[in-house]
Amino acid sequence: SQKSPGTQSAAAPTDTSTHRPTEQVPEKFAKGGVHIALVRQLSSGDYFEQWLAGAQAEAKALNVTLDVSSGDDNNDKQALNLQQAVGNKADAIIVDHGFAQTIQPAIKKAVDANIPVVAFDVDPGTPQAVTLDQDDHQIASQALSVLKQDTGGKAKVVYAYVAGFAPLDRRNETWTQFKKDNPGIAQVAKIGVVNSSTASAVADQAKAALQAHPDVTAIFAPYDEFAKGATLAVNELGLQNKVKVYGADVSTADIGVLTAAKSPWTATSATDPANVGRVAVRAAALRVAGRQVATALKVPPTLITQQALRDHGITNVQQLAGAFPALETPDVAPVPWK
């Protein structure tokens, strides 16, 4: 299995922190031996690779050992990995994605064992754990605002969605609301498949939908694999002048597709996964040091348009942060001794 929807890709582990240390390094960190367990639902795919790279860079900077385990899309296994981390007495645990119902009993055990927990993109079910989220509603609404602007609020739209993936479900809520608020926007077809070859499968479906509905002018595909599939379909049908694609998430490959000549993919909204990984490790480290951390951390997304990418001559995610400084969030959970 590969990456799951609603997760995006972005900048690498370049440490762009401009902060100066304001405090002494706590003894525990100075002498080393702090173990933070990272318990992931999934590992494969650009998003997770970038996220991990960011987390590892931050861990290194903080002199922390990161013990990584992955559920490989098996949620039962993720829960067991979490249980094992508790058994091994990790100093803190970061839970990266997962199903609330499945993971909450194990999180509870961790909390009961007085192990600090940071939960990314999953509801930990306890106020003692820090929650870290990217704002999926905002991701969807940023992309949709461009769609609305381009079409003047009147368009037949093909929508790509598969239920059951939390981020996509949240983005779907925004879409549902958006349709209600904009009666001129009509969803004429819904497509979507998720497997390890999502893009090409979605392309085949999108082609069928475009064939059946020749009057479509926009495709809303709020997940980069969907967006790439939709783009492929539009290209293969030669409809670049007629149909535009509005997506979410970003990776180096996505940038290539976005900036290709005549690309119909117009805009995407995303957070930087490496940055999110760094934030997660910082939050965990703060809790290990016994500092207060806000119980709900949010990383806001940034709107990235095709035009802006072209203007800045950007070809990969590493260059993104330069052009879109908002992707970096050093002030979310800052570590005062670094």
Binding site: S1, S43, S44, D67, V68, S69, S70, D72, D73, N74, N75, D76, K77, A79, L80, N81, Q83, Q84, G87, N88, F99, A100, Q101, T102, Q104, P105, V162, A163, G164
Partner: protein
Amino acid sequence: MTLVTDGSPEAPPRAPAAARLATAGYRYGLLVVLVAVTVFFGAARSSFATYDNLLIVLQSVAIVAIVALGVTVSMTAGGFDLSVGANVSFVVMVTALAMVRFDLTGATAIGIGLLAGLLVAGVNALLVVVAGVPDLIATLGTMFLFQGLALIITSGQSVSAGMTIGGRPAPGRYTSGFTWFGSGTVASVPVPVIVMALLAVVAYVFLNNTRWGRALYAIGGNAQAARLAGIRVGRYRALAYAVSGLCAAVGGILLSARLGRGDVGAGDPYLMQAVAAALIGFAVLGANRPNVVGTAVGALFIGVVINGLTMLNAPYYTQTFVQGALLVVSLVTSFTLTPGRRR
């Protein structure tokens, strides 16, 4: 479907001592690799070779092993059940719906789950035994059917407590009795591990020490001879699918209890894993046929390798490769040392 290759050159005659060593390599190749790997991990990480970690490894393979036992039984009768993954998914959805949407008790949900597994088995049996469709094709059809059905009954959505159905919140939730099957323990041993152990013993006795098991093996060996000896081949093949379906249902119930929600497609990966465990089992103890001990070892093999590599902080992308390489090494030692290579 032939699992045995022909046409390879015959092994040359061996001296007795070398032959004994070869036979040992053949019979124990995979076990030796398993033990070696365990020792290696234990030396590298002290927390690996502990009772607690043993339980975690066992729990991580429990559901796969249970599903694989069913696959093993279907293979003994010369069949092949490709529908087990879809069956697990279907049972997960059905049990979730029973409790969350229809607010039924955990016991009822278990009953319904088992019935759902039998339903899948019934379709398989109808296709294979009554309509005469070859096993692989029939169970492939069933797989699509129930993969689809698992999606349709929930409109493709996951089922969890508090979800809204037609605007109103669902009335029920997973009962604590039900989730106990997933995360409860008896004398510190997790329930799924106990269920696995029980089922493995039952399956072992069933296949090796009962008339039915021997009849299944006879059918797998030569269905025609079995029929001429008066064995009701059709009924036994249906029985094999029923066992396979029930095992998948038990796996589905345990998975549902572990997950605490009905997750779309949760069972699908279990097909490949269960088939892998059962196939690796062929090479264990020189059986070269489906067997319960081999299947259990096969499942354990996968679990130990992944657990150990994770403990060593090996990146996830090396795990599949190491698993494949170890498997290939043990297969090669097992099969090149086979005494009667030609069969």
